[in-house]
Amino acid sequence: MSAIADAAPGQGGRWTGPLDPKPPASPNPAEVAERLENIWGDAPGLRGWFGTVDHKTIGVRYMITSFVFLILGGLEALVMRIQLAQPNATTLSPEQYNQLFSLHGVTMIFLYAMPVLSGFSNYLWPLMLGSRDMAFPRLNALSYWLFLAAGIFLYASFPLGAAPDGGWFGYVPNTAREYSPGPNIDVYCLGLIFLGISTTVGAANFVVTLLRMRAPGMSVNRLPIIIWGTLTASVANLFAVPAVSLACLMLWLDRNHGTHFYDIAGGGQPLLWQHLFWLFGHPWVYAIVLPAMGMVSDALPVHCRRPLVGYTLVATATVATMVVGFGVWLHHMFATGLPVLALSFFSAASFVIAIPSAVSVFSWIATIYTGRVRLTVPFLFFTSVILLFVIGGVSGVMTASLAFDWQLTDTYFIVAHLHYVLIGINLFAVVGAIYHWLPKMSGRMMDERLGRWVFGFMFIGFNLAFLPMHWLGLIGMPRRVWTYGADMGFSATNLVVSIGAFVFATGILLFLVNIATALRSGRPAGPDPWGGPTLEWAIPSPPPVYNFAIIPLVATRHPLWEDQLDEGSERSQLASGFLLDNGKETLGVTPLDGEPDVILKMPGDSLLPFAFSVAALVLFGGLLVGSAWIAVIGGAAAIIALVVWFRPHPTPEACEKVRIYD
């Protein structure tokens, strides 16, 4: 049973530090801990490093890798802002600029925004769900290694001057062989197909994990919102990613093997690409914000000392956003000359999608208003998300307006809008979430004073960089231009934007310093520094490799707040329950009610995911350079890895059914 002491607020309502160290609510007695440690721990040395299937290690790797890509993409942006700070600048050639803006988009959207959320979800899901791992740990490792391999594949082209240069949206025929003869676009096509495999296996893993890998009693109406967000995004990805993979495959075939999917001379249609791309692209935009909105919905209430207002409405709105999100893709194509009647439906749907967003916004504000606010750094970031989301939201409503979008589309207004949405909801939420959950991951607190500086630089820099861009768009500055004339009236605003970009980058730099000092010398966090309601705060920080020594039994939505909320007589059991120490085991539950169903034997470390990813990298490398031999070697190695992976095992000795409610 959890017992949370109320921390004394510091002066002026400011939160002054972690609670007194106290034992975790979910105990791990020494003799059991040692046994579980032996069962669940990684093999020593390199084998363990490459072979680990621990969801926490994989989650952290996901986050670190995606932050490396965030920094690369950010540096690309800064170089572009140097070029655009003044009219008629020649810091960059048009070719260099085009590669930079294309790679910047591909990096941020594919290699940062989704993977960083996959990292968080990978780390947090089993901890929040009261499980010991994801449903398919090896598949989990595979999705990470494939992501890393695809990222390396896309970036290896950059120093060779062959980075994608057709924009992240890669419109044909500009990307057809005729107009882009180099390998740049082949890198893009193959890279996205490659990455799509990673996203797909990761998404499938999340869906099955949700259905089966929960603590007993964790019914669907008790799931944290981040689980709803990631689940919704994962289901969406299973439908959306095939569209872009197919589109890229067809483009690659057009470019290299004489097909005519997009080639008018052969009866193809350039607009087919746009339909397929945005059929993927718009749901993807929601997929890379919904889990981040989930972070806000789960973590903001902790700093407001009360449950989220309107849990059911917010969870429903999350799903509704995604459903409607599949019906708005034509709003990226308002100027393509399609019939106005057809476009009007998509315009209307794009207005409607503001409704579920409004649910979240007002839920968050109500949570603050009716809560007891600790002015912590995570609180500052999560609250700024609300404001930035609203700014990105109203500019989204402006672009939803069919007629006015005919003026706005392809201008800097859209650049402003999409950065408010993606940085505002994704990055600000992610940074807040790192302040919130890094103590859990590392066992150490991040410095609040430095954190306030980070917030100040990031918030001011961001708005300085992107708010004026709305104006640039309204006065007619088109997107994706490598320079502009001095007589256009864009110069002063662009200078402000560039200065803002560097202020923002300073904030990110300070943030990295903040993380580094926390990891080295941060104050010990204890198991539950914020006094949180969900299961991850019931175990030590950092969590042991097996997560829960005793599988908890969940009775309410806020297992650690039950005494304070006093919503009924039911209490979650954290100190007694299934031990499951007869081998690497965890509990499988029934999909809806979360009743114990089966003891799952979990797979151990394996080098196969890594081996398969290396083989796939060789395969895609061979396809890129047009070498059948390299491709065949890579493909054969991949098949061998799969055969070894899927070889029949001896009958598992123990898959006993457990029934305790019968």
Partner: protein
């Protein structure tokens, strides 16, 4: 959003200001609510400590918030569709059709006449009669481009293999800048054109002048042009009949060179001929090897093609 030249753009500007005003009001309101919420939340923390508490009444925020947002969104959607209808179709039948074909990275502009002989072709310079809606047929010769004159009306993509129809009307005479709005490769940033809106009588005169072929000339400039430039460029009435580059028959009547990159002046022409690929890297026109005297002669010759 400033200084429009036609009523389509006027309508778009109205709804643009309307949407912007609603947006700013919403953002300010929400910012105020967030500030209010933080102030109250901090007061409660100071008064009650930071123990976890259960509170009621929060749900009404969502009901009110969504309830108030919904009619505003409906109103904006209805306004959108009213403006869309007004902007999508011309107010009166169009009397003139102009075909515009985008190339990487310039605009070929063709005025169809009733007879084949009435057709005129120009480049990067669209001349419009004031007060008359003009039908535009837009297509592309290579990649996707987008036709956009911000001060006159909405964008329309130019897609190879597809002819997109739109219309344009300038209600006030003047010069308007047009610009490619869809990323089309290397020189997307420098694919502009000029719209000149003139009174109807001036338009008729301009059209008559453009219909006139040039008279073959003697002299060094004409000779060098014929040998070095005529494979790609047409000057009607002379031997030059190339079709790869812009028709240069009345080149001197156009305000810019190379799709808005340089002013069409003596020095602009010399700069373009002297360093074509330096001025506009990737342009289809190669650096033509001419010595300085030839360059000057050609610049003078094309400057005389009024």
């Amino acid at each position: 959003m400033t200084g429009t030249g036609g009523h389509a753009a006027d309508r778009l500007r109205e709804i643009g200001w309307g949407l912007s005003a609603v947006s700013v009001i919403v953002v300010v309101l929400i910012a105020g609510l967030i500030g209010l919420a933080i102030a109250r939340g901090r007061r409660r923390l100071a008064a009650e400590g930071d123990g976890v508490g259960r509170d009621f009444g929060g749900l009404s925020w969502i009901y009110w918030g969504v309830g108030l947002s919904f009619p505003v969104l409906i109103a904006l959607a209805v306004w959108t569709f009213i403006v869309t209808r007004a902007v999508a179709n011309p107010p009166s039948p169009t009397a003139l059709t102009v075909e515009i074909t985008a190339h990487r990275w310039w605009w070929e502009i063709r005025y169809r006449g009733e007879r084949a002989a009435d057709e005129i072709v120009t480049a990067n310079h669209l001349v419009l009669p004031v007060g008359i809606p003009v039908r535009l047929l837009l297509t592309s010769d290579d990649v996707i481009h987008d036709f956009w004159v911000p001060k006159l009306g909405p964008k329309m993509d130019m897609i190879p293999g597809k002819s997109n129809a739109t219309w344009l009307e300038a209600d006030r005479p003047g010069l308007y800048r047009g610009q490619c709005a869809e990323y089309c490769g290397l020189e997307h940033a420098r694919m502009a054109f000029t719209v000149t809106a003139v009174p109807v009588n001036d338009f008729r005169r301009w059209r008559r002048e453009q219909l006139q072929p040039q008279v073959p000339r003697v002299g060094r400039g004409a000779a060098v042009f014929t040998s070095a430039c005529s494979a790609c460029h047409t000057v009607r009435g002379t031997g030059a009949a190339g079709i790869l580059g812009p028709d240069l028959t009345h080149f001197a009547s156009r305000p810019t060179i190379a799709a808005g990159v340089l002013p069409n002046t003596v020095s602009g022409r010399l700069e373009w001929l002297g360093d074509t690929q330096g001025v506009k890297p990737g342009a289809a026109m190669p650096q033509v090897p001419l010595d300085e005297a030839d360059r000057g002669a050609v610049a003078q010759y094309i400057g005389s093609l009024r």
